[in-house]
């Protein structure tokens, strides 16, 4: 969708019914089970809050006094996530230079036909043989 035409081959219909049933069961069970509990005749009216509820002052006080260790750990988490994202997204050095014929035969190399003819009808048919 967002990565161009070649990233969006024609939709195959394998497992579409099972997928729909799964999603319907999830959504309906959630709605049926929880929504009636939340909608009652008399709403639990919330009284007015204190003036400093949710202010930067009191929120920061809570954050730094009650959760300082998780706060610092979250900074480490974000740093690790950024480093990992860069490491994963950058790939191996010089990968595009000499591995286009695929030095990894088991890893399903790039298929040029899928790039050139993304709308080719053979896509949906040929892929259907997979278990």
């Amino acid at each position: 969708m967002l990565l161009g035409v070649s990233a969006d081959p024609p939709e195959d219909t394998r497992g579409r019914v099972a997928r729909g049933v799964r999603a319907a069961v999830f959504g309906l069970s959630l709605f049926v089970a929880i929504l009636p509990l939340t909608i009652s005749a008399h709403a639990h009216v919330i009284g007015p809050a204190t003036p400093d509820f949710g202010s930067i002052d009191s929120f920061g006080w809570s954050l730094y006094n009650g959760a300082i260790v998780p706060f610092e750990l979250s900074s480490a988490l974000l740093m690790v996530a950024v480093l990992g994202a860069v490491a994963v997204a950058r790939g191996r050095q010089g990968e595009l230079a000499h591995t286009m014929p695929s030095s990894q035969p088991g890893l399903a190399p790039l298929e040029p036909s899928r790039l050139d003819e993304p709308r080719s009808p053979s896509l949906g048919v040929g892929e259907g043989a997979k278990p």
Binding site: M1, A23, H44
Partner: protein, 102 residues
């Protein structure tokens, strides 16, 4: 109508359900990541709504803060994985991410 906690929880339930249904229905990994964001934000809404009923503490808001931080990390890693998968397989469909299957 006066908005109470129930309305926020109902909205949170609807958002969570929509996110879950979208995650189960769609096969585009990017759309699945968006659905995941919707589900996490529904949880944030419920946390903050419940925190509003106990204005003497900010526990729910602090928890939502950490949920947002984890969400950011997850999206960064998730998009990197999607990019890597697109380089390898030229697709972002999640049912074609079967490199570990065979």
């Amino acid at each position: 109508v006066i908005l109470g906690t129930e309305h926020y929880v109902a909205l949170s339930t609807v958002l969570f359900g929509l996110g879950g249904v979208g995650f189960l229905l769609r096969r585009n990994v990017l759309v699945q990541l968006m659905s995941l964001e919707v589900m996490l934000n529904a949880v944030n809404l419920a946390l903050i709504a419940f925190n509003r009923t106990r204005p003497d503490a900010h526990t729910g808001q602090v928890f939502a803060f950490f949920v947002i931080a984890v969400e950011a990390a997850e999206v960064a890693v998730g998009l990197a994985v999607v990019l890597s998968m697109f380089r390898l397989r030229r697709t972002v469909r999640s049912d074609e991410a079967d490199l570990l299957k065979h």
